[in-house]
Symmetry: C2
DNA sequence: ATTTGTTTTGAAAGCGCTTGCAGAAAATAG
DNA sequence: CTATTTTCTGCAAGCGCTTTCAAAACAAAT
């Protein structure tokens, strides 16, 4: 275990000695403070020195050590991002957008996942806190409101799919209600009256909103809401499949199905196929989220499209605003319906 | 802009003062060094003091500041992970597994993406270096071999889908050749002779391996290789669709199609459908990767299954070994074929 | 030329933790 | 009950950068 005394302590990068600001200062014959000031633009510096320092910097290929910088500034320059799975198109895409968004302001994201389990999520959040992140972006958190509120007293928060009122919390408005309403309106516009709905888990705010949008649409068109026409899935292919089968087995009549997300729609589609019901000839089907794969199902799925990139981008932007003491103003553009072939007007 | 002088410099976490090791030391009436030693187990400490310190720690809820720790130790405790997109099932899942894998040893991943563009990737890697990551995991890098070799002189590397010989580089063996061979063998076993192949981009090693596996299988069964039966896609749904259309338009005869990945298979499936060819009655189709959605296509897709989790996990494990000076030994288990309904024995 | 008001600059004190060194304490030996 | 060893433990010097403070340099004013 005893190291040779010749070996000096090594820093981050494995090979060779690290080029430090001090070395730059020496090379440019100025004090470290001056170099720092030039680097950060925190004070005017005589032009001649600026040049000398810049020369030294590029000559030595100096890149400031972010760790030292963080310590000195008392800012980690990192923000936590809690997702539920990362291995789903939605989170993956959002994560990517957040990454590039944060990067623009030199923050780096620290991803952790909650696996849809509150305990896991709580632990992940704690880890972020331990890492001294400067803020946390939570994509559809499963934590109870009070906990979120408490958390917000420690770090600024940006939430999607949740609405929690507290200082230091910015909730990105991704209310799915209007979008779901739009989708259902479309089906009704095509003449459908008996529209089944494959819901997400009821304790999930976003899922509740989609259901609410569906009901709002029915109400607006004076169509009575039939509880028997809604079955709950879990946003997964398997869940959608099972839900569809249950629906079919219930012998309720319906001419169209609105799946609360595309994965469910995929499952539903297969279930319908298995039971010999053709889409869209026998029953129309629409999804929600418009995943890349949705344009390639058989038949291609009509689905509500919302730019996930945009969600990620706005979240990142809002977070930066929050961290730097500004008031976030990020707004999402309105969703649109990607009309394809899985739904058609009701004949007759 | 002028802050009140009363306000002292703030550290990472926004609220209140940060609890420092020094405060713990004071509370436990020992020196900071002792606290540090207890924390890290770097030296024996009298039992009574250990207790006092631990009491102080939990009483004050102390959590060591990782930034300060990194600086002092000269180790960032972070490893870079370069993916190409993150918003694809494959990368998302791998990323997730890497995250948990690294976490076990207290390293945290820093994700960056290359977007399949060498220039982007190069820039991303530089960013990682600037961040002083202790190692880099590259999932299917697009950088030329020499560049990788050069890079490996700065930080240890773990690669997947590449084979670069150099010290400090560990290439996870994910040679797709045998897996592809297995897949093609299956089709041939079902009696197919004229098997079309939808390839990935030819300059992509992994894509080349899949093609090689296909050819090896043909050769092993004395089936002449017909160049006209292979078209190149780009691993995307749209690419698979286009490739399939081209194939159909070429009027070559084939009874089965082997798509080099599932996304391509999805596209191909739709193309076949559009042209009135039924799967599997008229043509059998197999994919590769076994995405979650593949079990729900119509018909469900037979596909080569490999645990992506495992890839991520092994990569993480190997990286940790490398960083801590051990010799990695991670090995992947063999892939299996998920047999579903899109392929069937050739009748007659 | 002297005084006063501005800019520029450097010295030095941190940021919170680790660690080499050497003195203190405890354990073992004489 | 001393002389040695062997274990603990504290001091202090960093890690590489930022920032306060005050001195230095320069410019403007008298």
């Amino acid at each position: 275990m005893q190291r040779s005394r010749a070996k000096r302590r090594q820093t981050g990068v494995a090979s060779g000695r690290e080029v430090t600001l001090e070395m730059v200062a020496a090379a440019a014959r100025v004090s470290p403070s001056t170099v720092s000031r030039i680097l950060n633009g925190t004070a005017r510096v005589r032009e001649s020195k600026v040049r000398a320092v810049n020369a030294a910097i590029s000559q030595l290929q100096f890149v400031p050590n972010p760790v030292a910088r963080s310590l000195a500034r008392g800012k980690s320059m990192s923000v936590g991002v809690v997702t539920q799975t990362l291995n789903s198109l939605f989170y993956g895409e959002a994560a990517q957008a957040i990454e590039t968004g944060l990067l623009r302001s030199n923050y780096s994201p620290l991803f952790v996942s909650g696996h849809w389990r509150t305990a896991d999520e709580r632990k992940s959040v704690q880890r972020l806190l331990d890492q001294r992140v400067q803020g946390i972006i939570m994509l559809t958190s499963t934590l109870p409101d009070e906990e979120i509120a408490k958390l917000s007293r420690q770090v600024p928060l940006v939430l999607t799919g949740r609405l929690v009122h507290a200082d230091n919390v910015y909730c990105l408005d991704v209310d799915s209600t209007p979008a779901a309403r739009l989708t259902a309106d479309y089906l009704i516009g095509q003449g459908h009256r008996r529209i089944a709905f494959i819901a997400g888990s009821p304790d999930h705010l976003d899922a509740a909103q989609r259901l609410a949008g569906y009901r709002a649409s029915l109400a607006a068109h004076d169509i009575p809401f039939a509880p028997a026409l809604v079955t709950v899935g879990d946003y997964s292919e398997a869940g959608g499949y099972a839900a569809m089968i249950r629906l079919l087995d219930s012998h309720e009549k319906f001419t169209a199905v609105f799946a609360a997300n595309d994965e469910s729609a995929f499952g539903a589609m297969l279930a319908l196929h298995r039971r010999g019901r053709r889409v869209p000839e026998d029953v129309s089907l629409v999804g929600f989220d418009d995943l890349p794969a949705s344009a390639f199902t058989i038949p291609p799925l009509t689905s509500l499209h919302r730019s996930i990139d945009e969600v990620g981008d706005c979240a990142a932007r809002a977070m930066i605003d929050l961290v730097e003491g500004r008031v976030p103003v990020a707004r999402l553009s309105s969703p649109t319906l990607a009309i394809r072939e899985s739904a058609r007007p009701l004949r007759g």
